[in-house]
Symmetry: C2
Subunit: 143 residues, 2 copies
Amino acid sequence: MTPTAPAAVTPEDLLRGAGLRVTAPRVAALRAVGESQHATADDVLSSVRAELGTVSVQAVYDVLHALTDAALLRRIEPAGHPARYERRTGDNHHHIVCRSCGAIGDVDCSVGHAPCLTPSDDHGFVVETAEVTYWGLCPDCSA
Amino acid sequence: MTPTAPAAVTPEDLLRGAGLRVTAPRVAALRAVGESQHATADDVLSSVRAELGTVSVQAVYDVLHALTDAALLRRIEPAGHPARYERRTGDNHHHIVCRSCGAIGDVDCSVGHAPCLTPSDDHGFVVETAEVTYWGLCPDCSA
DNA sequence: CAGCGCAACTGGAATCATTCCAGTTTAAGG
DNA sequence: CCTTAAACTGGAATGATTCCAGTTGCGCTG
C-alpha cells in the first residue's frame, strides 16, 4: 500500500536511496530502531531475530555500521553504556542520560542553533561536530 | 579556603585533604596524571610501575576510582577510546578529540558560562551536568 | 609505641561489547 | 540467467574494565 503522499517512506526506499542493497536484516534493523527509541545493538539483535529467525551477531553489527555510515542511523555512545542507535539524523540534537538507569531522552539545542559549535580555543584542531550530553536522573530514578 | 599562598600543594596534602590514606600508588598516580595530560589507565599503570616497581592493574583502577570519587581527578570517556584522567577539576571545561589519532585538548566553555546547561526540554530529568565534546582533526592529522 | 581494624593492594579469572577471520550465500546489474 | 561484489554465518579473539578471595599495611586507639 503506497499512497500518493510520500509521507510513508518505506525502509526499502531509504536503503535504495542510500545506494545500499535491500536485505531482510537491514529492513528489519531499520524498523527495529524506529520502533524502540535509542535501541542498543543487542535490542536490535533480539528484535530482528524475533522477526526473521536466525540472524548472526555479526550481521547486526555490520548492518548497523552500514546504516550509520549511510546516515540512515545515528550512533550515540554514552560513557559506560553500550552504543545506541536512533533514526533522527542530521538535526544535531543532543541527549540526556540517566546516571542511574541509563534511560535516554532527546534534547534540542538550547541556545537556538549551534552555539557550542565554536570552541573558544581550538588548539589548531579542525572542529567538525560538537556533541552535548546532559547527565542527571530520569523521572523514575529521581523519585 | 587555603590561608596562605598554597604555592606547592603536594600530592600528600591533596590526599590527606580529601580524607584519603596516603599510599605510594596513590601519590605516584596523582603525579603521573599531573605530568601527562589526559593519561589513560594504562599510561598511569606504566608510569607508576616505572616509579615503584610492581603494582597491580587492580591497584591502579582502584586508585583512579578513589581519586575520581574524591574529585582529585576527573575522568573523561570519549566514545571509542579508553577512559582518560586529568587534574583540572571543578571548572566544567570541555574537550576536543581527534577522530583520527585520539589526541585530546582542553576547551573552555565558549559562550561565557554554562549556556548549554539548560536543555530546552528536560523530559522531567533532573539535570546535573552538561558535557560537551568537540570532534575533529588535530593539527597533525589534518595536515 | 604496640596492636588492631579496615582500607588498600595482589594476581588471576571473568565479563561485556565489539571486532576479526575464513568460508558461504544472495541481491542486483549485465 | 549468470556473475560477482556485497552481505551474512558462526566461532574465536580482543581490550578495557571489573569481580573475587586472600594478603598487606596505614594510621587510629589504647
